[in-house]
Subunit: 331 residues, 2 copies
């Protein structure tokens, strides 16, 4: 019996989820739900329909888990509590500070309807949260560091695009290698995000931009509060063709490194590291969401209702393997 | 209310567990249980008694979780099913092929007595199993590789010590760097353990060993079936003083790397890596066991009885933090 999945929202992440479902023979795509005109949306899976968002409400018996592929700023704060009334849901809400509030909202819908949701799935929050919690419990006399990159930050790219004279922009976040190596060696410094990362920006200018204007653009970027002012930032001006050729992907990645002391007086070092290197951030996140959908369906079938995060999910629940197979092949 | 822990077996691992308990304010050591004469065993925790093994059976009301620190070959196969009649237990059984059989044995004791056990805890099996299962579920179109080292293999060191003329020996397992880098780059070759690792052996000879004898020892090591014959092995002869000075620790570590394809036709690469670098293998394993003891106690309090592995444990259960704290600080 396959897990029957719906996808709500068909942008980069929704397409990543669709591709991941194809890789999992125990999962089946049942429908894609969109705010656009369904007739104008072409999907990659033959024989599967595209519907308006609220058409899903008539399809509750056909869908085991709805994967919500909206954005964290404008979509998921209302979408997740709303559709958790009707479906088990999985999503990737990633505004870290608002997660407690979001979990409460979604939980209320779940509990009222015997549904299960797993929110804030993906890699950070998600896999990185799991790594931080497990390594934190194992090495209490230690310190964890999260590095992001090398990868594209869409929020920072968008912020640069707002500057007058900028036609297009791509921002990469990079971890500082020396700092990372020191931590791997057991150092436990106090660090700001700006000391752990640098930023690199590629900019395409409007046609009428002068050299003086470019100097202003560099200044505007480097001094932008919150986004750039606390970071060592490098700006490159490139052509539209170069942008298209060299910067059209959405790579990302990162590292969670926890270093701590074990043994008598914590005198012996232990360093645990979890890292990702991704050609495509949304496609990988889609793959995580599909594994979470499998877990969500199982937890619901077992009567474990309410809003969860990946911190609440036993690893075995993500896997298509039986318990016997896992013990035999994966331990 | 602290989790009250007993330690059964007081070798390197038992001492590692004791040190880890001291680092966790919510855990308390209640007693150490030994097959030796308790009067001859000195422990590091003031005010805690040392007892004969079966004295524990009169202390069931005082101990929430018994951590079994015996060996996988001779101790845990009988010790774990025996003491799971009386206690929630946590241990580090690491004979991979026998894990399904061992889980069944321990489970029978647990279920008959409303107890919970978590077996095969540590890093491999344990954390590495979790990494293999989670990354396998997320990247089904991929391949996982487990590398061990650089670290001391006690089994291989013992095997060399059996060779006539060898007074002492230490064997290090090392991952092959080039192979690891190729996999990090997305390659998915078929590899044997011997292609992924080299072995380095340090030998102290008996006083009467000649140069010819040394050549025989090298030959005996390099051709030893199962242990060395399939590996590129280097042998160094050193003095007793050098052994003492440079090789008295028990460092270890390793890497689980899964590389896979995501997106349409799996054309985009994703590489996930989990790694450890440990000054002391038994002390780190002891720290994992203590986090597992916390999880074991909780699962038992919730009525989740039977024999589990780390694949069955939600990450939050390892942590001393409340759910609210985890959502606020760790996601």
């Amino acid at each position: 019996m396959k897990t029957r999945v719906g996808i709500m929202g068909y942008g980069n992440l929704g397409r990543g989820v669709e591709a991941a479902i194809k890789q999992n023979p125990d999962m089946e795509l049942v429908g894609v739900f969109t705010r656009r005109d369904p007739a104008a949306v072409t999907i990659q899976t033959e024989g599967v329909g595209v519907y308006k968002l609220d058409d899903c409400k008539t399809m509750q018996d056909d869908i085991d888990v709805m994967i919500l592929c909206g954005g964290s700023a404008a979509d998921l704060p209302w979408m997740s509590p709303e559709y958790a009334h009707f479906f088990n849901t999985v999503e990737s809400f990633d505004t870290h500070a608002d997660i407690p509030w979001h979990v409460d909202n979604v939980n209320a819908s779940d509990i009222a309807n015997d549904k299960t949701s797993i929110v804030s799935c993906g890699w950070d929050p998600g896999l990185f949260s799991v790594a931080r919690v497990m390594t934190g419990a194992i090495l209490p006399a230690g310190k964890a560091y999260t590095f992001w990159g090398k990868g594209v930050s869409q929020g920072h790219s968008d912020a640069v695009r707002q500057i007058p004279g900028v036609k297009d922009a791509r921002q990469y976040t990079l971890p500082v290698q020396d700092v990372m190596d020191a931590i791997r060696g057991g150092a436990m410094p106090e660090l700001t995000a700006g000391q752990m990362h640098t930023r690199e920006v590629f900019v395409v200018c409007d046609d009428d931009v002068t050299e003086d204007d470019k100097a202003d653009i560099v200044e505007d970027i480097k001094t932008m509060p919150a986004y750039f002012e606390d970071y060592n930032t490098t700006v490159h001006f490139i052509t539209e063709e170069e942008m298209q050729r060299d910067h059209s992907g959405l790579p990302h990645g990162g590292f969670v490194i926890r270093s701590g002391g074990v043994g008598p007086d914590g005198k012996d070092k232990a360093v645990v590291e979890f890292s990702l290197n991704l050609d495509s951030n949304p496609e990988f996140t889609g793959s995580v969401l599909v594994a979470c959908a499998r877990a969500c369906h199982r937890m619901n079938q077992e009567g474990s209702y309410g809003c969860k995060t990946m911190l609440d999910v036993p690893p075995a629940y993500y896997s298509p393997m039986s318990r016997d197979e896992l013990l035999e092949k994966m331990m």
